[in-house]
Amino acid sequence: MSKSSTAISLVLLTAASAGFIGYKAVNAPADPAFPNFDDNSGADFGDGPAATPTNPSTQPSGGHSNGSTGYYNYHTNHFYSSGYSGSSSHGDDPHGSSSSHMSGTSRGGFGSTGHAIGHAGS
């Protein structure tokens, strides 16, 4: 195989690796954690742990948000907007709340499965 002399510069890589010398990898937890969309598991689209609002001052007042960004019920084919609806009602509005808006940012909506398993590569 031919490689040009400048092909592998890896500047970023070596800089990043320098900060990881001596790093101890996080061991994967042993608990089974991965749900399936089969008929019995109860796992649903977007049904992971709640995302966390990191800018609460911009969250709408009212409502009894559980912090979730909503989820899809695999069995009923409905989206559920559970929280942050801006309404004064409990958040489980199966049709969403078109009249409500919020300007804040939620975080933590990805990563929960990976933390349970420990390694995302394959």
Binding site: M1, K3, S4, A7, I8, S9, L10, V11, L12, L13, T14, A16, S17, F20, I21, Y23, A25, V26, P32, A33, F34, N36, F37, D38, A43, D44, F45, G46, P49, A50, A51, T54, T69, G70, Y71, Y74, N77, Y84, H101, M102, S103, G104, T105, S106, R107, G108, G109, F110, G111, S112, T113, G114, H115, A116, I117, G118, H119, A120, G121, S122
Partner: protein, 382 residues
């Protein structure tokens, strides 16, 4: 194909760490192993290259079949996501990379074990670390001339990013690279990919996947400074993202993700029975089914990683199995003859980058199931 014992470089740890490979000995067990290498022939490499191209062709046809026949439920893709996946396919969104895991011993035809189409790792070691090992171990081609390594992975990655840059010109801002916080292998793999993207001229940023935000007012994914994430490479599997809280936001399609959503069809082991149904005469496919097979076979979870929760079954009896966090549904695949080189069982990882079969990595174990800690052993061919 031979397994050849060789003396490791005296200071190999320092050498590979200088190349960014700092996870060479995880949990105190060697993962990178240069006390041996695999010596392939040119015809071996030709065979692997041919098989990889043919498997890629069949896989693309299988994606079209899954879409045409609306088999998403079989693949555990929620109905709400089907159109999104279909649109990604119809737009022919580019793919950066994938790795076919092949059973091959140099004597028999390569057989597909599985396709890591979404989040393959062992990339840095295949593209970079084994290349520099080769240059050290075989300076000027000695002792066998001409000797070479099947490896243009790095160059093809840079080409892939250039192609992606052209394909995503409507998306402003840097390409974000994201991985699970705290896992060094994942972090260094995306850092390597980020390095190749930068060499292709792209602006890049890194963000832990947990720190990705969804801005409700602007209705888009944002980084920690509230900058929009318009393009992102994720080393985080689609099947997990679809089960997590931000899943509905994915359907807003405000971010161009890599690997593309349509790759979730290929990274699912349900593709194995579909491939076999479509191409039963292919010499590169093992018989596979959604039901247990009559003869010796392997049971694999449809959605699983790194050889976890695999069972080898013979005459109804489990002869070997691995632990892990995954459950069913399962697929069942004919048991391939396991290559055996002095008690070591290698699996060939054949890389498909930017549409090119461009290199291999070999991982071996002393058990017949390749797992997360199976060792990476370099290779040459002559």
């Amino acid at each position: 194909m031979q397994r050849v014992v060789i003396s490791p470089r005296p200071n190999w740890q320092q050498i590979v760490e200088s190349q960014g490979f700092v996870f060479h000995t995880p949990q105190g067990q060697p993962y990178w192993d240069e006390s041996a290498y695999y010596h392939l022939t040119r015809s071996d490499v030709d065979e692997l290259e041919k098989a990889t191209y043919e498997l890629d062709r069949m896989c693309l046809a299988a994606v079209q079949h899954v879409i045409d026949q609306d088999l998403f439920k079989r693949f555990q893709v929620p109905p709400a996501c089907a159109d999104w996946v279909r649109q990604s396919w119809d737009r022919e969104e580019v793919t950066i990379y994938g790795r076919f895991d092949l059973c091959f011993d140099g004597r028999r035809t390569p057989k597909l074990l599985e396709y890591n189409a979404d989040t393959p790792t062992s990339l840095l070691e295949a593209a970079v670390v084994q290349w520099f090992w080769f240059k050290d171990a075989f300076p000027d081609g000695a002792p066998v001339t001409p000797v070479d390594q099947f490896n243009t992975i790095h160059e093809r990655l840079i080409e892939a990013w250039k192609r992606f840059a052209e394909d995503s010109t409507g998306a402003d801002g840097p390409v974000y690279f994201t991985a699970l916080e705290g896992n060094i292998e994942d972090f260094m793999t995306v850092t390597y990919l980020r390095d190749t993207a930068m060499q292709a001229g792209l602006a890049t940023e890194y963000i832990d996947v947990e720190k990705i935000g969804w801005n409700w007012g602007r209705q888009l994914f944002v980084d920690q400074r509230e900058n929009p994430i318009n393009r992102a490479f994720k080393l985080y599997p689609w099947e997990w993202m679809l089960r997590e809280a931000f899943a509905p936001q994915l359907l807003r399609q405000t971010t161009r993700w890599l690997e593309a959503p349509w790759k979730m069809v290929l990274s699912n082991k349900a593709i194995l029975p579909v491939l076999y149904d479509l191409f039963p005469e292919s010499p590169y496919l093992l018989k596979a089914s959604f039901e247990p097979l009559a003869g010796p076979h392997v049971r694999k979870p449809m959605l699983s990683r790194e050889g976890a929760n695999v069972q080898l079954i013979d005459a109804g009896r489990v002869t070997a199995e691995t632990d892990g966090p995954y459950g069913g549904p399962f697929v069942y695949q004919e048991l391939a003859p396991v290559p055996n080189f002095d008690g070591f069982h290698p699996v060939i990882g054949s890389w498909m980058v930017n549409g090119y079969a461009c290199g291999i990595g070999v991982r071996e174990d002393q058990t017949p199931i390749t797992g997360n800690l199976s060792r990476f052993v370099p290779h040459v061919f002559a």
